[in-house]
Symmetry: C2
Subunit: 331 residues, 2 copies
Amino acid sequence: MHAKEIHLASRPTGEPVPDNFRTVTTELPPLEDGQILVRNIVMSVDPYMRGRMNDVKSYVPPFRLDTVLDGGAVGEVIETRNDAFSVGDAVSHGKGWRDIAIVDGKGARTVDLTQAQASSYLGALGMTGLTAYSGLTAVAQFKPGDTVFVSGAAGAVGSLVGQIARKLGAERVIGSAGSPAKVARLLELGFDAAFDYHDGSVKKQLAHAAPDGIDVYFDNVGGDHLEAAITSANKYGRFALCGAISQYNSTEPSSAPRNLALAIGKELTLKGFIVGSYGHLTEEFSEKMTQWIADGDVEWDETVVDGLENAPQAFIGLLRGENTGKMIVAI
Amino acid sequence: MHAKEIHLASRPTGEPVPDNFRTVTTELPPLEDGQILVRNIVMSVDPYMRGRMNDVKSYVPPFRLDTVLDGGAVGEVIETRNDAFSVGDAVSHGKGWRDIAIVDGKGARTVDLTQAQASSYLGALGMTGLTAYSGLTAVAQFKPGDTVFVSGAAGAVGSLVGQIARKLGAERVIGSAGSPAKVARLLELGFDAAFDYHDGSVKKQLAHAAPDGIDVYFDNVGGDHLEAAITSANKYGRFALCGAISQYNSTEPSSAPRNLALAIGKELTLKGFIVGSYGHLTEEFSEKMTQWIADGDVEWDETVVDGLENAPQAFIGLLRGENTGKMIVAI
């Protein structure tokens, strides 16, 4: 059996370019006990992958050069040496960036494609949704009546954070995004206020959108957004630090936030997190999210790019903000 | 009755100068019901007072121009219209920066000068000690086995943080200070390692002193110290943000920390605090600290400046780091 795979050909400096990637056809070895063979249907490209392309120690090991990349994917089992899976099952797993994958059964979870489409299990019902839910509830300790600010709010995680906050009783939900169309979409999704960060100082725009300050900040961006959120934070404000997409492509350290000393008097809590530490919330999250989706209370957008060979371009576009909602590659 | 008082004559720009202060003799009105008249013995000058000299909204209101300053003091009751206090009682209260004070009984606490000297109730047994204790335990969630880094460790709060961490079972306690004499003193006080931040990069010196990283950072300094602590932090590190003395005199915003995005993958918690929010720990703290002092396990240094009229110079010296331990003015 042959697989088409996307390899990391070289490490990006700053913004990734197509030459950093290479499409390779590989002959797969036979399955070992416990493994399954999966024909991938969809895969995910996510901002955190940019960090793994650098050769630095981080919370996940760096991608290796001249080796297939990996990431979330959903596919169909076409061969099995694991009793927990049958041919024809749909599974969610971590071996994306290829059309045919050998997956260890322990790393796969059966999903129901009659209940939701494959890409949902990468998005609202998958890691993306759990990131939004756990960051808002467990990390930022959201409580009803809070005013919530989300940066990168038109992104896959951000748009869910805002909608979950509304469902859980936020007083006011504010989002920032990178285009007028995205801002309009946030208002449709039920955000009380939204602004385009290109329209001027984030600090001023946030102060205008949150005249009574913010209690919770869900940070996907870092930099000037984080600084603005510190300025607008109310006493005992709680920040979930989820991402810093403004800095992922930078080759220089960022100079933010210059006002962190305000966290003392305001008694702010800033807490970084990665979704892997909140796996214990999966069941609670899945139950609630399935219900919210069934009730039509949570919507999400996807930007779908066709063809595995276009995955690098999808990833480059993601870092440029060319997506609205989850960026998906249909394989 | 006349009182000699130190007034704020003008707001400092950058480092305070003697002309920002004025010594004024005031005629005091008669006591009202509930008040006591106190002859102050000692008063405290503290870094947080610098913030109150700016005309900006903060967690405590700014000092008013042409008005007496205030702060911690201990004195003797010389007249009383409050049944809870008798003439001759020693009291700790908040009306420092003057020799004779009218104090509302609700703002005074009787202290025992036979058990400890007056200045102790401004330091180890007072707000300074409670700041160290609550910051380490409640804010930074210290646990036995943690490696702890304290910046400004020769200061009144910092030196107590290190000793309390030792008493509570720290694996390793590291302090930074601003002179070779202070570094030597920290080692005497039981710190496992200490360095002079003038000797080179804080980041490199901390990495050397903490080869296995740090779990808790007690921040009195901000700036490069905070950035270094983020770099050296272990997974799930916890930071108590208590002060940012490196920035109190600055007229420009600081550019630190440029590496805050590392807090995501390391899942750090940075929590600002002011001691006023931890008053509920006073009893627990006082019991433990009294015992530690009785056992000879906690020591502290004082730098005593004589004479109320020298209080401004004591304060200016404090911000320059001319003190070792608590800076006290004997009135």
